[in-house]
Symmetry: C2
Subunit: 207 residues, 2 copies
Amino acid sequence: MEKQGILFVVSAPSGTGKTTLCRELTIKLPNLTHSVSYTTRSPRPDEVDGREYFFVNETRFREMVERNEFAEWAEVHGNLYGTHNGHLLDIMNRGEDILLDIDSQGAIQMKKRFKDGVFIYILPPSFEVLKSRLTDRGSESAEEIRKRLKKAKEEIWNYREYYYIVVNDDFKKALNDLKSIIIAERIKMKRMNLSWIEENFIKNKEA
Amino acid sequence: MEKQGILFVVSAPSGTGKTTLCRELTIKLPNLTHSVSYTTRSPRPDEVDGREYFFVNETRFREMVERNEFAEWAEVHGNLYGTHNGHLLDIMNRGEDILLDIDSQGAIQMKKRFKDGVFIYILPPSFEVLKSRLTDRGSESAEEIRKRLKKAKEEIWNYREYYYIVVNDDFKKALNDLKSIIIAERIKMKRMNLSWIEENFIKNKEA
């Protein structure tokens, strides 16, 4: 049997640096593919279909929901977002590991389908830091910031569903924590291809 | 409640580079202490009591066995070796992690006592490499090498008892694998002190 890829699911409240951490991770680690979600929201000028997202209209998205094609999906601020089951399985069946960056509601859905998945939560070092990170962007109104903080708090309520906690206090340390999780999960006994060990050391007549 | 240290148990057949890897690990990683075993064998000229081993005579060792002071102990080539339970608990209660480097018989005993321990097996890349590593030392007779290889094979039979497999093909990679395991285990949800998360994000009125 070929080795199956591992599913890594990462969640974090907005303003925690998740996007930058995930991008760096897929650059630094070989054999780790960032999963591309489907969405009904319009592409931004710099976004490419199939790279940031697969962009589809709502009718198409609803059809896919009907056909049970999503491993998880959710409505966020009036737009639909979903992770395509077949897309995940294609990558994993090639033996590649997947990095999936979704909110905690989606992660809870994923936990039911992918029992061997690895669920990682990224936290800011404190609520005050999260607040100042969101405020310092300077691009959102006070009302928008209040809404984002409320959403962040709701998001954090689910942190206990995850298996690992990474605190993004120092970016390099957080990145190293994430790399360590991925490297360690890959060499877990339960995930290893044991046949070469059996051939080499156990069944080897000379050994 | 103070954070308890984590017990890391490492085993490997002779000639796999375990000793050098363990030494490097405790140098590179803070808060990781190499456990010191008790033995009845005589100290070598460069060995210091309490550093490489606690050296005791057989009467004293047998008394300690009687008093159930060892978490595990074994007889190897006519000498007794044991891991003192109190020594481990002292370190872990200080919140320090322990690196314990013992054979697979000892590791199996440890698994029963320390349910939260992390069990790591180090393998050579192949049986041929192991053979040539033992032969290349040039210090042992053919008979001695044959005995060591036989022992190595028996040792490897127990590899399935462990949670992680590190293959020492490339020293730097093997060291990085071991570091990754330790870092990842430290940030597992089940081991984290969650009270600061609860205080900061869940119970915080402003949050």
